[in-house]
């Protein structure tokens, strides 16, 4: 049972001051084993804060990040799953499923986590999953001002992953659950 926190696009301090207090109260150290962050933190203080939640922290670079030494993409293996991480501003059109699927094939991962659109999405595509955790602070994006704060917690347990989606709607935290089972014989079809 491995808990992986996926979040990003906080845009602290430029577009938001901090995580919503209801989110902050839930994020306590000791429960989460890994954190993957899509990018656009933007300052080092946010990285330090995330490091206190969990020592195993992975970040990819977003276009507004002040720390320039994060990588563009990252892959890691947790349990039976291969996870890929990328901010997403590099993939054009932004948020387009087919283009993201290309990136997923390129990185050869089961779960691809990207951000930049500040909208939560979760798609099943060709045997893999593409997840966008949205913006954890609800910061406005290049596309829209209407953004609900959201982040994602994945519970990886053998061949099964349960994705818990935390969204702040009208001041209340709403939690949804998504199940995904990896079939053992998944192969990416070549185009």
């Amino acid at each position: 049972m491995v808990l992986v926190l996926a979040l990003g696009d906080l845009h602290i301090p430029h577009r938001a001051a901090d995580l919503p207090p209801k989110f902050k109260s839930m994020l306590v150290p000791g429960k989460i084993q890994h954190i993957i962050c899509t990018g656009n933190l933007c300052i080092k203080e946010v990285q330090d804060y995330l490091k206190t939640l969990c020592p195993d922290l992975h970040i990819t670079i977003g276009e507004y990040d002040e720390e320039t030494r994060y990588p563009e993409t990252k892959t890691l293996t947790i349990g039976q799953f291969k996870l890929g991480l990328c901010h997403g501003h590099q993939v054009i059109p932004w948020g387009d499923l087919d283009s993201l699927a290309m990136l997923q094939r390129q990185l050869d991962v089961d779960i691809l986590v990207t951000g930049h659109t500040h909208q939560f999405t979760a798609y099943k595509h060709e045997g893999g999953v593409v997840i966008n955790p949205g913006s954890a602070t609800g910061a406005y994006s290049s596309i829209t001002y209407d953004v609900n704060p959201s982040f994602v917690l994945m519970d990886i347990d053998g061949l099964r992953v349960v994705v818990y989606v935390y969204e702040l709607i009208d001041g209340e935290v709403k939690v949804d659950k998504i199940d995904f089972k990896k079939t053992a014989t998944t192969t990416h079809s070549a185009h």
């Binding site: 994020l27 999405t121 979760a122 798609y123 595509h125 347990d157 989606v165 659950k177 199940d179």
Partner: protein, 467 residues
């Protein structure tokens, strides 16, 4: 042959008395000149036991047993002031080992006879086991289970009890020890098996979101949430793991990285975790792993395969039974109450005072502090598991478990005996030296120690042992 010799004598006590006088006249070397047949003439502490066993075959052996024990006591007084090594050691160790094997055989057959009865006479068993269980013959697991009350005295009920208890344990494990994700998986598989088949038929597209309640997610802070409870116990689980790594590091059974020892540590971990979940008032206290270790060791080295494979379930039940009267010692809030550890320590002090006022006064006043808390705390809460090696612990626990007045009572007597046996060194030592001595109790002949303990009587008015 031995028994034949005994029965010929008209007056058993008389013969032993005669034998005693013989011994005084003996020099050390004459032991080897005797052959097996004449052993009984020589009075040595072990001899009394074998004499006692041949008595126990008679149904009315009670009275004679008492008399023999008294005789033994008087002899022992003489022997004690010769220090830790009983006198018979001078006669040659191979002589002793042969004698001991014969005793062990006799004792083993006695015990086997007792436990093969339909209705076991627990009192009788207690008396025999009080002198220690022989190492061979795989008696310890069954006898300990009987003495702790895990197995009922009626042999017919054993099968039923064992099956019931083992099932209960398996159920408890299922309820309390699964991680929340496993629980969620089982629940979900039960409910959504149909839906799942459809979803898996490869349809791409947005994934369906299911709403869940506020208790059901990993970051939930609600008290009733499975997740919250799970994380609360993570700390305890880590502590248990750390302690298990340190349990008996010299033994391959417990320590090391072999799958064998890992399995054992895993089982012990389950037991301790389950205990902590079922007893939220005490949870887990460092040291419980030490108390569990002998029990688990004895049960898993049972030569009966079925028993050994169920050692975890049996150990759990026996661990609970064993701790049931001393569990209050672990609870910090109860320290100062009438059931807490401090009261028990004061009882130990009283016992020492009643049996040896000089030593008590020395420890209490000359060395100022109440030393008891520094060393006896560990002795009592951990049932002496930290003071001796495993073999000695098993022997001591034979006596503790077979005491008809309960484990605690005998434990206090053994602790008092430990103090008495170290008397000369304690009297000549200052605070620091005494503390060092008592915290690293020196090697001692266990049989001698237990004999001294047997002789201690909690009643202050009568039997006072002076050394």
């Amino acid at each position: 042959m031995l028994k034949g010799k005994k029965l010929n004598l008209p007056d058993r006590l008389g013969s032993l008395l005669a034998g005693f006088e013989d011994k005084d006249g003996d020099s050390g070397g004459s032991g080897s000149a005797l052959d097996l047949g004449e052993e009984l003439e020589i009075i040595q502490p072990n001899r009394f036991r074998s004499g006692r066993e041949s008595e126990s075959d008679d149904e009315d052996g009670e009275v004679q047993e008492e008399a023999m024990v008294k005789r033994k006591l008087e002899v022992d007084e003489e022997l004690e002031h010769h220090g830790r090594q009983p006198r018979h050691q001078k006669d040659g160790s191979d002589h002793i080992s042969v004698v001991k094997t014969i005793e062990d055989d006799e004792k083993r057959s006695d015990i086997e006879y007792e436990i093969s009865q339909k209705m076991i006479n627990v009192g009788k068993l207690q008396r025999i086991v009080g002198t220690g269980l022989p190492d061979g013959g795989n008696l310890r697991p069954t006898v300990w289970k009987l003495l702790l009350g895990y197995l009922p005295p009626s042999r017919d009920l054993w099968e039923k009890e064992l099956i019931e208890n083992r099932q209960k344990y398996a159920k408890l494990k299922e309820e309390l020890l699964l991680t929340p994700s496993e629980l969620a998986r089982i629940k979900e598989e039960a409910l959504h098996s149909n839906e799942h088949n459809n979803a898996d038929s490869g349809t791409d597209g947005p994934l369906i979101r299911h709403e869940i309640s506020h208790e059901d997610h990993p970051l939930s802070l609600g008290k009733a949430s499975v997740w919250h409870q799970y994380f609360e116990h993570i700390d305890i689980a880590e502590q248990i793991d750390r302690d298990l790594q340190r349990t008996h590091p010299e033994m391959k059974f417990f320590s090391g990285e072999s799958s064998f020892s890992r399995r054992h540590r895993e089982s012990m971990r389950n037991i301790l975790l389950l205990f902590s979940k079922l007893n939220p008032a005490i949870r887990y206290v460092q040291g419980m792993n030490e108390v569990l270790a002998p029990i688990y060791y004895v049960f898993s080295t049972d030569t009966d395969v079925q028993n050994a494979s169920n050692a975890e379930a049996d150990s759990f039940a026996c661990f609970v039974l064993l701790l049931s009267d001393s569990v209050d010692h672990f609870c910090e809030q109860l320290d100062n109450s009438s059931v807490g550890i401090l009261f028990t320590l004061s009882r130990l002090a009283e016992l020492l005072k009643a049996n040896d006022e000089e030593l008590w006064r020395h420890l209490e006043f000359t060395t100022k502090a109440s030393l008891m808390e520094y060393y006896a705390f560990r002795w009592i809460t951990l049932l002496l598991t930290q003071e001796f090696n495993l073999q000695s612990i098993l022997r001591i626990w034979d006596s503790l478990l077979s005491n008809p007045f309960g484990v605690q009572e005998m434990l206090l007597r053994v602790c008092c005996a430990m103090l008495l046996c170290a008397k000369s060194r304690l009297l000549s030592g200052d605070f620091a030296a005494n503390l060092r001595l008592l915290q690293h109790y020196p090697d001692i002949d266990i049989e001698h120690l237990l004999k001294v303990a047997q002789d201690i009587s909690p009643d202050t008015s009568s039997f006072c042992l002076t050394l």
